[in-house]
């Protein structure tokens, strides 16, 4: 009767025998590799379309993205409209619609026309429906998200009376709405670009010493226009009006020291649906409280986004070191290690990982290893000597720590193997 060991040996020999004869052919190799690599390309293409809700979370739950988005939206909400105060003139026909129109449609360009971002406002009373073009909205997003998107649309409904803003963002198939309090920017100075023009015109209108110059005529977009240079108490404007209708068609003013703002495509008292400036969340949008807070008071870790950082192990630390050396520092270990250094490197890692299209798991792994290290960092016995060591250097110990109750140390080498080492053998 054969014993089990004999049978095992026999089967092993059989496997070795069979393996030696089981060889793929060149044709099979080519067929499989082509199929696999093509499948990967196809999978990546379909994944980018299917994972947009996830992309949204990645995009908008990054603190950096939130800050960037907040900055952009805040800028767009208040740009050119909150840095002046309020004068009279003889060109009453020209300024009458500016002063009295209840609804206005206008576009304005910040910077060079054709190059600067263009803002499109629909003004109904104290509310504005604002959209933007000629600006890559996706720049506020995480690069890995950006690369997968062809467009990101954002509409803001500003209620200047209540100092609230409804932001509607469409990111592929995902539509998100959020309310933002815009009191932080100074409610009393929240004016539309139209209000700004109105203020300057009013200053001039009521000031007999105001500087108003006739600029003559010129053609603007096929229309004969008459121009006026107006210098108010604090700001100056150039207004071009249609020669026949006296309606303003173009208004220019300086924004800051170097930039100009051009208001164009102006229409006054156009019949408009009030719903265009409704502060209700439109159908199809999901209201998210946490999308954006201009003051950035949103909690960083939302329940669904919390990373699983429990049960950190030595393996996680080794993986963190690999990621740090391989991804962040191109093959070299950092000069120093620890929570403060980790905090400084987290964003570098984030963008490197993002630009490389790596999965979230790599992002999770990095902090997890650092959490394991923290156990020793604050009160334990550990050391680091990775400065100048390259990843793969099997002779050099880069990090060591003493587990609780152990007489020896766990040492991690440059090739990331781990060994038990006596204290006297550790780097000095």
């Amino acid at each position: 009767m054969e014993n089990s060991e004999n049978i095992e040996r026999l089967i092993k020999a059989f496997c070795t025998d069979k393996n030696s004869s089981a060889r793929t052919t060149e044709q099979l190799d080519e067929k499989i590799l082509n199929a696999a690599l093509s499948a990967r390309e196809e999978y990546k293409r379909t994944q980018s379309a299917q994972t947009q809700p996830k992309i949204w979370r990645i995009a908008m739950h990054s603190k950096l993205t939130k800050l960037a988005a907040a900055a952009l939206i805040a800028l767009a909400a208040i740009i050119g409209i909150n840095q002046f105060a309020g004068g009279s003139v003889t060109f009453a026909q020209v300024i009458e619609p500016i002063l009295n129109a209840r609804t206005v449609i206008l576009d304005y360009v910040i910077g060079e026309e054709g190059e600067g971002p263009e803002i499109h406002d629909i003004v109904i009373g104290s509310r504005i429906r604002r959209t933007m073009s000629n600006i890559d909205m996706t720049m506020i997003l995480d690069p890995r998200v950006r690369s997968t998107l062809s467009n990101m649309d954002m509409t803001m409904i500003l209620d200047l009376e209540d100092a609230r803003m409804l932001t509607l963002v469409s990111l592929g198939v995902t539509k998100i709405a959020s309310y933002n309090d815009i009191q932080g920017t100074g409610q009393e100075s929240l004016l539309s670009v139209l209000d700004f023009v109105r203020n300057v015109v009013s200053e001039v209108k009521d000031n007999p010493d105001a500087d108003i110059q006739d600029l003559g005529e010129k053609e603007i977009n096929g229309q004969k226009a008459v121009g006026f240079y107006v210098k108010g108490l604090s700001r100056e404007l150039t207004i071009w009006a249609n020669k026949k209708t006296s309606l303003p068609i173009r208004i220019e003013f300086a924004e800051g020291k170097t930039s100009t703002v051009v208001i164009k495509n102006i229409e006054f008292d156009v019949p408009l649906e009030e719903s265009l400036v409704s502060m209700e969340v439109p159908a199809g949008y999901t209201l998210k409280d946490t999308f954006l807070h201009i003051e950035d008071t949103a909690p960083d870790n939302l329940p669904e986004e919390q990373l699983d950082l429990s049960n950190a192990t030595e393996e996680d630390l080794v993986e963190s070191l690999r990621i740090w050396a391989e991804i962040i520092l191109d093959g070299a270990f950092p000069d120093a290690i620890g929570t403060d250094h980790f905090m400084k490197q987290a964003y570098v890692l984030g963008y490197k990982l993002a630009s490389l299209g790596l999965p979230d798991s790599e992002m999770e792994q990095f902090p997890k290893g650092m959490i394991f290290l923290q156990e020793f960092e604050f009160g334990g016995k550990w050391g680091y000597a990775g400065k100048g060591v390259k990843l793969g250097d099997a002779d050099k110990i880069i990090l060591w720590y003493q587990p609780q109750g152990s007489n020896t140390y766990r040492a991690i080498y440059g090739d990331l193997r781990v060994a038990e080492v006596a204290e006297e053998d550790l780097p000095k």
Partner: protein, 189 residues
């Protein structure tokens, strides 16, 4: 294992060379396993292709709990089981055994004779598939019983039982043959 992790990491970064490296490293072992499990070279090649296509697609989401080799071996076993279920692959007859996967046989490297190999192959083919799978995953692919249990989502004892019963059946089928093979080898030497 570290090298595999690096290769996988590089592949996730977009390196197709890393993928080719992984493929070259394991293709023959996996093909051997697939042939051993299926007794059908065509089915084995299909399984190998399906596993690598799936691996290429899912590489980003892959969280390796075991070695890459163990992971791929498990995938092969699962794939062969699927193919077997679909094609209702039957156990081979003795006269068919030994004809399978003999392409490219290199006599100099063989440890056992074709007859011996055919006898074992036949004996293996008589085993229930799940027992054969456990035996091959352990003895061919070097997977630990715990890894097999985790990959099949069954209890460790279940895996150990299948292994034990499988070996028992093989022992019963090959009873006396091993000793005679030993004797033959000694007499040849």
């Amino acid at each position: 294992m570290l090298e595999d992790k690096m290769l996988l990491w590089k592949f996730r970064h977009g390196s197709n060379d890393a993928f080719r490296h992984i493929y070259d490293k394991y293709k023959n072992d996996l093909l051997g396993l697939a042939i051993a499990l299926s007794h059908d070279r065509t089915a084995a090649e299909d399984a190998l292709q399906d596993v690598f296509v799936s691996f290429a697609q899912r590489a980003d989401k892959l969280h390796l709990k075991t070695s890459l080799k163990s992971y791929l071996s498990t995938c092969i076993a699962n794939k062969v089981r699927d193919i077997k279920r679909k094609k209702s692959i039957q156990t081979v007859e003795l006269d068919q055994a030994g004809q399978i996967s003999t392409d490219g046989d290199q006599p100099d490297t063989l440890v056992m004779s074709a007859e011996q190999s055919a006898q074992i192959e036949y004996a293996m083919a008589q085993l229930p598939y799940d027992q054969r799978e456990v035996i091959f995953l352990h003895l061919h692919s070097g997977m630990k019983f715990r890894e097999i249990a985790e990959s099949q989502n069954v209890l460790l004892n279940t895996v150990l039982s299948k292994y034990r019963y499988g070996l028992e059946q093989l022992r019963s089928q090959l009873n006396g043959k091993v000793e005679s093979w030993k004797t033959q080898r000694i007499s040849k030497d």
